[in-house]
Structures are given as structure tokens and as C-alpha cells.
């Protein structure tokens, strides 16, 4: 699975411009699903299985998009001003590298602020792609770029940009690959534009109108020096999300996940996240409502160019998801 993860994380695909990621994923899943299609906003949807007695229509969601930047102005000397797509932080930009969709690479730097210890605002930053003039610059206003960092593995710890949420897409792909028998109809939704407001999942959920929704995304961990206090740690298993800042998971879905993990003797953790939300919120609020929850991959340094996950957590997430999908689900 590591090479799958590498291929996914190293593809460029900021929100609204997920085509490359979509193409990579589509090639991998085309033969695995009963039906594969792309909807009006660009969500990639793969259907597997039929609803049998006791079965349900289950929507899984992992988002294809990553945070990035979009060019707003090219000055006379070919330097590029930009704004952000999704929750990009200033600290992670300074000195960083980006790669535009058209392949152009650049370095982020900033104006002289008179004080080396001051953090620049986004308006004080610019990208240098090595051009000497506007006319000659290969980047135009509106071009998008993602952070540029290669995949690395430090033993079981995997590091890359865009673990959020390519790791989720990898989990979904692997689950689809290993899922042979299920009484449920499962929709694997590789969603777009999550980072800018759960937009793809909102419309995908409306289109599918599922009985149950489960997102697979990353969550913070509380296991770094003087970090946030949180009960989630890398290597302690996938996290069952109880709450985040945008959603209260359906308690019946949480129980279902916990009972299944216990039964299968899979490691798991209980997650309460105080900042950030996932596609599960969008699914929960759609139409007449959908009982929803989320399986989270603990991740350090989210929204930084080097996000870190534990490979065992990823594999256990796949096992948990498979165990959930193989069952007849009764949420009462």
C-alpha cells in the first residue's frame, strides 16, 4: 500500500483542480467497482454491491483535494502574488516550495519587514519561479499550486504533504480492493473541494441519499512536545470520531464502530477534535438527515508540508472499515 500512498500524495490537486488525482484514482478502481462515474462537481464515485436484506446504502467519503495557493498577480519582474486555497498557515509557507499544475516550481519568500523575527502576512509574500518578467513568466493569474514535498518513510511513520486526505483516499481504495462480500450497497466517494467547505461531499450526499455516512479523514494527535492536549496518538489505532468543531457523530454510529473494533480486536481510539471538521458533517445534514460518523487517521503536523501518519493506523483503518462493511447494519 505504501507505493499507492506515495503516488497519491505526490500528485498535485488543490481544491477545485483535482483532475490529476481523479485520474490516478480512477485507473486504480475502474476494475474493482460495479460502477464508476464522475458527478457534476467532479466527485469520483464508485459503487459496489447491492442492498440485500438487512443491508444499507452506505456512503464513504475521502477527499481528493489538498490545500494550496492560487496566483493573484504577476508583477513586472515575474514575481507572483497569491492567496490561499483552504487552511494554509503562514508559518508553513515561509521558505516553502510549491508546484503549479503546469509543472512550474517555485519558492515562497517575502518582503523585507525590517524585523527578521516577524511573520509576514500572505500579502507580504510572493513566489519566485525564476522568471525575469511578466511576459516570460509561465504562470498566469488564476493558476493553482500545491506544496512541493516528496513522500518519505521513517520506518512505520510516513511523511508527505497532502496526507490530508490522500491517506483517506488510499484507505478507501484498499478497502474497495479487499471488499468481496457485503450485504450493503457501498458508495466510495472521492470528494472534491473539502478544504474550502465540504462542497463536494454536500452535493455527492444529496445525489446518493445514503442510509449511513462515514468519512475517512485525518485528525490531530496529542502526542507531540507541548502540543494540544488530545487523547489521540500515532500508532494507537484509527480514531473513532465522537465530535469535531462541525459535527456531533451519531452516537449509534459511534457505538457500531466501537463494538466492531472490540469484536475484531482491532486497536482504536476515541476522538474529540476541537478544531476542524470533515465531509461527515456535510453528509449528516443532507436532505432528511443521515446518521454519520468518521474514522480518522491520527496525523501530526496537519496542513504543514510534512504531515506524518503511522502505517499501522492506516492498515488498521482498512481492517475496521472492512469489518463494518461486511455486516448487516442495525443502528437501533
Amino acid at each position: 500500500m505504501k507505493s499507492l500512498i506515495q503516488e497519491l500524495v505526490e500528485t498535485t490537486g488543490p481544491s477545485g483542480y483535482e483532475s490529476r488525482v481523479r485520474d490516478v484514482i480512477r485507473t486504480k478502481i475502474e476494475t474493482l467497482a460495479d460502477e464508476v462515474y464522475v458527478d457534476a462537481l467532479g466527485n469520483l464515485i464508485a459503487a459496489k454491491g447491492e442492498v440485500e436484506s438487512g443491508g444499507k446504502k452506505i456512503m464513504l467519503a475521502a477527499h481528493m483535494d489538498e490545500i494550496g495557493i492560487i496566483a493573484t498577480h504577476i508583477d513586472e519582474l515575474g514575481f507572483i502574488r497569491f492567496t490561499t486555497i483552504g487552511g494554509v498557515r503562514r508559518q508553513t509557507c515561509v521558505g516553502g516550495r510549491v508546484r503549479f499544475l503546469n509543472g512550474t516550481r517555485g519558492v515562497i519568500s517575502y518582503e523585507d519587514l525590517g524585523d527578521v523575527n516577524k511573520l509576514p502576512t500572505f500579502n507580504q509574500m510572493y513566489i519566485d519561479v525564476g522568471s525575469t518578467s511578466r511576459a516570460e513568466c509561465p504562470v498566469r493569474v488564476g493558476d493553482v499550486a500545491a506544496f512541493d514535498r516528496p513522500f518519505s518513510s521513517f520506518g512505520d511513520r510516513l511523511v508527505s504533504k497532502a496526507m490530508d486526505d490522500r491517506i483517506g483516499t488510499a484507505v478507501l481504495i484498499e478497502t474497495l480492493r479487499l471488499l468481496n462480500k457485503t450485504p450493503n450497497q457501498v458508495f466510495f466517494v472521492f470528494s472534491v473541494q473539502e478544504e474550502v467547505g465540504l462542497r463536494g461531499a454536500t452535493t455527492a450526499a444529496y445525489g446518493l441519499d445514503p442510509d449511513i455516512g462515514i468519512a475517512v479523514d485525518v485528525t490531530r494527535s496529542g502526542d507531540t512536545p507541548k502540543g494540544v492536549k488530545m487523547e489521540v496518538s500515532l500508532g494507537a489505532g484509527p480514531a473513532v470520531k465522537v465530535r469535531d468543531s462541525g459535527m456531533l457523530s451519531d452516537p449509534r454510529v459511534v457505538s457500531w464502530m466501537v463494538d466492531t473494533a472490540e469484536k475484531e480486536k482491532l486497536p482504536y481510539q476515541m476522538e474529540v477534535l476541537e478544531a476542524g471538521t470533515t465531509d461527515a458533517r456535510a453528509i449528516q445534514l443532507t436532505r432528511a438527515g443521515v446518521p454519520a460518523g468518521c474514522i480518522s487517521i491520527p496525523c501530526r503536523y496537519i496542513h504543514a508540508p510534512s504531515e506524518m501518519v503511522d502505517y499501522n493506523d492506516v492498515q488498521n483503518a482498512v481492517q475496521l472499515l472492512l469489518a463494518l462493511l461486511k455486516q448487516e447494519v442495525n443502528l437501533e
Binding site: 496529542g222 492536549k229 488530545m230 487523547e231 465522537v242 465530535r243 462541525g246 459535527m247 456531533l248 457523530s249 451519531d250 452516537p251 459511534v254 481510539q269 476515541m270 476522538e271 474529540v272 476541537e274 458533517r281 449528516q284 445534514l285 443532507t286 436532505r287 432528511a288 438527515g289 443521515v290 446518521p291
Partner: protein, 354 residues
């Protein structure tokens, strides 16, 4: 026969934090059962109660929404047997230290919210109000017992018992919005012996304090022709700005603004004047901060109104409400629903005719 005070006390005592409303839903279901024809639960846990109207089918329906969820806390971690917490719904951290709570673990465990002394807190939090993330809940149990009974994600409710104050008022937690649930209950009881043409959906919604998910999804599912959200508003009290608050005991307020259909507002106002019920106008320039915000834009849109009950000290465990205002709200709803004519929608206008 519904006795208001005992009903309120029962409703307020029942746990039911946003996202986990089933305990209070059961009580509401029992209360509404004798006065309604059909009861069901939505996919997100809202209670839907239908009372049939007398007009021939197909009958239009009016939805009355009262949110049943309450604010509280959730366990984020356990350290040495003490609980770290986060809020459910909007809480002012200054209200918390010293409050009695109930921890809903494997069993109900009493606890206190405690404020660690300054020297045990990071430098920037040592003076002034202590933010929620640094507060702890102490149950008095030893760490081993706590770890067996409680885990991350468990809920914590305020434990304040309701108390009667002077002038027929009640102080307690969760009067936001159980006071409105009580008003709707009285209305259903009254409608039981009145004739009304329209179908009535009484809906106890979930998650208003967090996502308004209940109102949004119930409105989408039920598609009423009209909707009224009943909630609480800021009551006049020491320290609260005069121009944004409303006196207790002077009746409910009728909302006005982009979140309210002007014609529906006028119709309900006329009824209030007709029955000589005191009320105040509540100007809501941008939005109502109630379930009406979600309901108004469900599917193809629903004409919506907001009626609110003045309440002091909102989002504290000592909220105060005047029982009379709850009764008036119930009566206003009953009279409006009873007088709704079958062709009301054809006459409903956005513009006042000048």
C-alpha cells in the same frame, strides 16, 4: 391534564445535550402521545408528532419547531482521574468554575467543575477568567474507578435543580429551550379539544445549539407550508443592554427581519392583538439565531416566523423564565393554528398592502 411547573421540572432535569437528545426525547414523546395522532423519529433523532386537521385531504401543514437539545460539556481526556472537557453549544467559561455537573459515563456520576490554581496553569492563563480547556471536572472518585466508568467522548450535563423564584418564575438549566417545548406541549393539549383545519407537525428538533441539523433536515423531510420556530430570547436583566433585551412577564416577542415572512408575522400579530395578549416586537436585522434560519431555506423555501420567550441569564445553569410567558406563547400558537383557514396560502403576501 398538563401541569406546567411539574412538566418544566421534568423536562429540565432530563439530560439531552446536542447530538444525544434521546433521554429528553422519550419524555417529550410520552407527554405528546395523548394529544397527537402519529409519532416518529427523524434520521437525526428529532421527534416528529403529527396532529391531523379537520379539512379534507390533501391538507396543508404547519410545522412548529422547538429545539430539545441543551448545552453542556464533553470529556476530551482523563488525567489522574480528573476530566478535561470541551463545550457543547456556546458557553461562557466564566460561568463554569464551581458548577455542579453530572457525568454520563457507564453510570451517572456527580462532579464539580474546578478551576486549577494559577501556578498550575500556563503563564498567559494565570490571571483573569480561565478558558474551558484548562478547567477540570472532579468526580471525587479515584483514578482507577474513573478510568473504568468514563471515557473520552462521554457527556456532562449541568446538575442545577430547578428552583421557583418570586413572581411565578422558574430558575434552572436547559430552560433554553425546554421552556418552548413546554409551551408547545400546552398548545397540543389545547388543540386536542379545538377544531383546526390544517395538519400540525410538532417537532422537537436536535442539534440547534451546534449545527441546526435537526431543523434543517426535518423541514426538508416534512415540507410544511408554514413554519414557526419557538425559542427563547434575552430577558431584561442587570448588565444586559436595554435595547436588546425584553422584560419578563410581558409576553413573548414576535420576530421581524429577513428571517421572518412579513405576512406571516402580521397574521400572528393580529391574533395576539385579537386575544389582547401582551407581546413585544423583536427586530432581528440579519438572522434570528434560531431553527427558523435553517427552516426558511429548506428545499423550495418555507414562510417562517419566530416567537420567543424572554429568558434571563441565557446559557447559564440559572436561566430564569416567567411561567406566564410560556402559557401566553402556548395560547398564541393555539389561537393562530385554530384560526388558520384552508386558503391561507393564497392570501399570504410578502408586501403589506398600503
Amino acid at each position: 391534564m398538563i401541569e406546567l411547573l411539574p412538566l418544566l421540572e421534568t423536562l429540565c432535569a432530563a439530560p439531552g445535550l446536542s447530538g444525544n437528545e434521546s433521554p429528553v426525547r422519550e419524555i417529550i414523546e410520552q407527554t405528546w402521545r395523548p394529544y397527537t395522532d402519529e409519532l416518529s423519529v427523524s434520521r437525526l433523532g428529532s421527534l416528529h408528532a403529527l396532529k391531523h386537521g379537520s379539512a379534507p385531504e390533501p391538507r396543508p401543514s404547519i410545522l412548529i419547531a422547538t429545539h430539545m437539545d441543551a448545552i453542556g460539556l464533553m470529556v476530551t481526556g482523563i488525567v489522574n482521574g480528573l476530566l478535561r472537557v470541551t463545550e457543547i453549544g456556546g458557553l461562557d467559561a466564566r460561568v463554569l468554575p464551581g458548577q455542579l455537573v453530572t457525568v454520563h459515563g457507564r453510570q451517572e456520576i456527580p462532579g464539580i467543575i474546578v478551576q486549577p490554581p494559577a501556578h498550575l496553569l500556563p503563564a498567559h492563563a494565570q490571571s483573569g477568567p480561565v478558558p474551558i480547556k484548562y478547567l477540570l471536572v472532579d468526580t471525587g472518585l479515584r483514578a482507577r474507578q474513573v478510568n473504568q466508568q468514563v471515557r473520552t467522548g462521554d457527556l456532562i450535563s449541568f446538575a442545577q435543580e430547578p428552583t421557583q423564584l418570586q413572581g411565578d418564575t422558574l430558575a434552572g438549566r436547559s430552560l433554553d429551550n425546554r421552556a418552548s417545548v413546554a409551551a408547545l406541549s400546552l398548545c397540543l393539549e389545547q388543540l386536542h379539544t379545538r377544531n383546526h383545519a390544517w395538519d400540525v407537525w410538532a417537532v422537537a428538533t436536535t442539534q440547534e445549539e451546534e449545527t441546526m441539523g435537526g431543523a434543517r433536515t426535518s423541514a426538508f423531510e416534512l415540507r410544511p407550508k408554514l413554519a414557526v420556530a419557538v425559542d427563547v430570547t434575552w430577558g431584561k436583566s442587570p448588565g444586559s443592554p436595554d435595547h436588546l433585551t425584553f422584560a419578563l412577564g410581558k409576553g413573548p416577542t414576535l420576530g421581524w427581519g429577513p428571517n421572518v415572512h412579513p405576512g406571516l408575522h402580521q397574521s400572528i400579530r393580529k391574533i395576539a392583538e385579537q386575544i389582547e395578549m401582551p407581546f413585544a416586537l423583536e427586530a432581528m436585522p440579519r438572522h434570528s439565531g434560531t431553527d427558523a434560519f435553517a427552516i426558511q431555506v429548506a428545499a423550495q423555501g418555507i414562510p417562517t416566523m419566530v416567537i420567543t420567550i424572554p429568558l434571563r441569564y441565557m446559557h447559564t445553569p440559572v436561566e430564569v423564565v416567567a411561567l406566564k410567558d410560556i402559557q401566553r406563547t402556548a395560547r398564541l400558537l393555539t389561537e393562530f393554528i385554530s384560526q388558520l383557514e384552508i386558503d391561507y396560502m393564497e392570501k399570504l403576501l410578502l408586501e403589506e398592502s398600503s
